[in-house]
């Protein structure tokens, strides 16, 4: 697991500037070491970002979406009493219970994985042989970068995964990814294996932790299936 981001998008929440601070204040008190930034304060464009550096987690709240970013593994975030379960989804619960909250729109789940790292068997040529026809593979020695993308309908939305060689910082920069976990910097500085990107988006009328957990399980199962296929 390299990076993960969850976005809950809702109808424009007109009372966001006046309501959100009461919801977030206990969180700031709890994490005295957290950093927070407020921009466009007291406007509909207000944006609040709270960074929990020690936990490799950031949340961003705006009048139209709530973003949860974390470098922790999906299985850890899905566990009971994880930071997602105990606190962060409590924020959405409180926000959605406000009378002026007009409803959810969709949920966007994004994850980046590094597969086959530190195993020289899993190099570019091996992946080419898996996803390209032999004739193409033989004449593609000058190929700088490549990826295979699969996109399918999913829960009235879509699910997409792509796999290609992991090029380290250039791949992360291309996606505007800034690693939160310093332990993963080595991974980016000395890349190996493959980069797997998973994205799913679908409309929602409600949101709770069980839905997030189910989505994490789905993504993890797809990663396992794909990796089994690549290795076979």
């Amino acid at each position: 697991m390299i990076a993960h981001q969850l976005e809950i998008r809702y109808q424009p929440f007109l009372k966001f500037p006046s309501e959100i601070k009461d919801i977030l204040v206990p969180l700031l008190r709890f994490y005295a070491s957290s950093n927070f930034k407020i921009s466009n304060e007291n406007t509909l464009r207000e944006r609040i970002e709270i960074s929990f550096e020690q936990l490799n987690t950031v949340i961003v709240a705006t009048s139209t979406n709530f973003i949860f970013r974390s470098d922790q593994d999906l299985s850890d975030l899905s566990a009971n009493n994880s930071i997602a379960d105990s606190l962060l989804f409590g924020i959405i619960d409180k926000m959605s219970s406000i009378e002026s909250f007009t409803g959810f729109k969709n949920m966007f789940h994004y994850s980046l994985f590094n597969l086959g790292a530190n195993d020289e068997n899993y190099n570019d040529d091996f992946l080419k042989s898996k996803i390209f026809s032999p004739g193409f593979s033989d004449n593609s020695s000058d190929l700088v970068d490549f990826s295979a993308v699969v996109k399918t309908p999913y829960k009235d939305g879509s699910f997409q995964m792509s796999i290609g060689p992991f090029k380290g910082m250039s791949d992360l920069n291309e996606r505007n990814v800034d690693l939160l976990d310093s332990n993963k910097l080595d991974l980016a500085m000395d890349p190996s294996g493959y980069l797997l990107e998973m994205k799913s988006i679908f409309p929602i009328s409600e949101f709770n932790f069980s839905m997030y957990k189910a989505e994490n399980n789905f993504i993890e199962s797809k990663v396992a299936e794909l990796w089994t296929f690549i290795k076979s």
Binding site: Q5, E7, R9, P12, F30, N35, N40, R45, R47, S51, E53, Q54, L55, V58, V60, T64, I67, D76, N80, N81, S82, D85, S86, K105, N106, F108, Y110, I131, F132, S133, L143, F146, S147, A148, V149, V150, S158, S162, M169, D171, N173, E174, R175, N176, V177, D178, L179, L180, D181, S182, N183, L185, E197, K199, I201, P203, S210, E225, L226, F229
Partner: protein
């Protein structure tokens, strides 16, 4: 596995762009979401409406602080010196009883299945609370990383709803009520 057959046959070369573009006008860029928008409320509406089918992050991932497209040297330095934990758990607890040495707490181990456990902690870990009494709501934070673990006891006021412990209290009130004895007859 059909989808993977599709993967094999449907190989799609994307050497130039993998997914998100760095175009500042694209919906995947942080610049487009708020910073580059005008104050026109109609435009704000259109921005949010575009999210309906927007399969891209509303903001660039992991833009902590002011660093947008790379990890500058000083960010790396600050991260290196900041203690970082791999996983964390936050367990909501209510103080149940207090002895000279130990504070016993009712802890919500699994709130989805209403599983509670009583755990004891050294009283010293609660000494930051000036008026510790039975019923106080606290959060036990357990952080783990390779080779180390840490437990913090933090004030749960504002983060814990006392009603979450109510179902447990209801069951506790039935203890020794004789309801668990078989019918005689």
């Amino acid at each position: 596995m059909d989808v993977y057959k599709e993967l094999s046959s449907h190989h799609e070369l994307q050497a130039e762009k993998l997914l998100e573009s760095k175009d500042p006008n694209s919906s995947g860029s942080i610049n487009s979401f708020f910073d580059s928008s005008s104050d026109d409320p109609n435009q704000a509406q259109s921005i949010s409406d575009s999210n309906v089918h927007n399969a891209y992050p509303s903001e660039g991932l992991f833009q902590v602080g002011d660093y947008n497209y790379s990890i500058p040297f000083r960010t790396i330095i600050s991260k290196r010196f900041s203690e970082s934990w791999t996983t964390s758990k936050l367990i909501k607890c209510q103080v149940k009883s207090i002895t000279d040495q130990i504070v016993y707490c009712t802890c919500i181990v699994d709130r989805h299945n209403n599983i509670f456990e009583t755990r004891g902690f050294p009283k010293l870990m609660f000494s930051q609370f000036k008026r510790l009494k039975v019923g106080k709501l606290v959060i036990v934070e357990i952080k783990v990383k390779p080779g180390a673990s840490r437990i913090d006891i933090k004030d749960g006021v504002g983060l814990i709803d006392e009603k979450e412990f109510q179902s447990h209290a209801d069951w506790e009130s039935l203890r020794n009520a004789g309801l668990d004895k078989p019918f005689q007859g």
